[in-house]
Amino acid sequence: MENESRSIETRVEGQVGFITLNRPKVLNAINRQMLSSIVREMEEFDRDDNVKVIVLHGNGRAFAAGADIDEMMNDDSIDLELLNQFVEWDRLAWVKKPIIGAVQGFALGGGFELALCCDILLASEDAEFGFPEVDLGVMPGAGGTVRLTKLVGRATAMRWLLTGERFTAKEALDSGVVSKLVPSDLLLEETEKFASIIANKPSLSIRFIKESVHKAEDTSIYEAMQFERKNFSLLFSSEDQKEGMNAFKEKRKPHFKGQ
């Protein structure tokens, strides 16, 4: 239990909940226990009214440099099937509040997959990404081939997944994996600023926008449109919609309550 609590750390500042991967000695390599803790804290923040936005980042030289190989190298197929470990990763997709990932240093293998579970990524200018699994005789198993392909398209995803080569922050920016590059020393500061911008928006809008974008990525245009429409309509039951539109008409700043 003690180890578990140390492998990640959490804090709330302003309305932002921070989850810090905290195994710097092993470049925050993700083991099963650590992933469970991340999922649990994410769900905790998701229920916490004081938290509007979640930030995920790593302590030390890496975001996360991969998965813990020792833990799995002697597993066989049946072990893995019965363990069903990736079902925990699925729960990250059910978190309703926006998750911002701040990637400094390495995001490799399982670490990169974890980064891809975030809704939006900021990265340090010297960050490096990659899926080296192929060189271990395996492949990504926590959504790597799926999420990367959705994000960058088949051609680029194939190149990175088949060669296992690392790519730079600049390439990640150009291909749409990350939204913004920041000098390493300022990454956390800029991420906080970015997170607090979103935290101050009407949180029901943020919630439904996130949901709709994910829907759009994962279903037909027709269905996504229907879904968007329902969410749009739903927001008209919120106080923030009344406040937002009244403030607009009265040419004043809105005061959102998140309701």
């Binding site: 920041v182 000098p183 020393d185 300022l186």
Partner: protein, 257 residues
């Protein structure tokens, strides 16, 4: 530890000396690998606040060792495997880098000097774009740095005509910071290096990055980068020290942090 270079750190200054004087310090695979190791130390070693690259004996460097240039050699491979990593590593160094051109700098020896931030030149030294004389193009970043330093027209002139450039001419076209006479050479280089090593190192690194960005960034992005840069400089203790020293009317003591 090293065979083909000397690498020493004295009083915040790292000295990387190309050390094959019997071969006019011509580059070999081993030498590049040793240079790479030394340059990584320069990048990481917090005691280093300035780097001087110079040559042992009468040359700075005559460029690629022609003993290794055999028929069927894949020149592109040599560049990718040996020169490019050294140049990339050199460009990563956020500290002032001086080429102390003690003697002839030819071919990729000239290129190495161009990749440094400052060039100090011995009055007897010469620079040669030797490549054209053997039907090759100036490599190892030469044509990247040269036009930025002296302009397109002059860069083309040097690269195509391949004439020797004396120290005096180099000074005239803005290629070197200072020409130093033989008697004062070592003293001149050391005092220049020492001066840089006592400056606000972080700010120098940020200036280097910013100037480099000016070549390939649109104004809006450049100004955004500038805002980041100034934010980081504003967080340094050297900035505090500079402001305090100014108000207290004393000379600042910069720690490079």
């Amino acid at each position: 530890m090293f065979k083909t270079i000397k690498y020493e750190v004295h009083d915040r200054v790292a000295w990387l000396t190309l050390y094959r004087s019997d071969k006019l310090n011509a580059f070999t695979e081993e030498m590049h690998s040793e240079m790479l190791t030394a340059l990584k130390d320069v990048e990481r070693n917090e005691n280093v606040r300035c780097l001087v690259i110079t040559g042992e004996g009468r040359a700075f460097s005559s460029g690629e060792d022609l003993d290794g240039v055999t028929e069927g050699l894949d020149h592109g491979h040599v560049i990718r495997k040996r020169y490019t990593p050294v140049l990339i590593q050199l460009a990563k160094i956020d500290k002032p880098v001086i080429a102390a051109i003690n003697g002839i700098a030819a071919g990729s020896g000239f290129s190495l000097a161009l990749a440094c931030d400052f060039r100090l030149m011995h009055e007897q030294a010469k620079l040669v774009q030797a490549f054209i004389h053997v039907g090759l193009i100036p490599d190892s970043g030469n044509l990247y740095y040269l036009p930025k330093l002296i302009g397109h027209a002059k860069a083309l002139e040097l690269a195509v005509l391949g004439e020797k450039v004396t120290a005096e001419e180099a000074k005239e076209i803005g290629l070197v910071t200072k020409v130093i006479d033989g008697e004062n050479w070592m003293e001149g280089v050391s005092s220049f290096a020492e001066r840089l090593a006592n400056m606000p190192t972080r700010a120098i690194g940020l200036i280097k990055q910013q100037l480099q960005a000016s070549w390939d960034m649109p104004l809006e992005l450049f100004l955004e980068k500038e805002a980041y840069g100034q934010r980081m400089a504003g967080l340094t203790s050297d900035h505090q020290e500079g402001v305090h020293a100014f108000m207290e009317k004393r000379s600042p003591d910069f720690a490079g942090k």
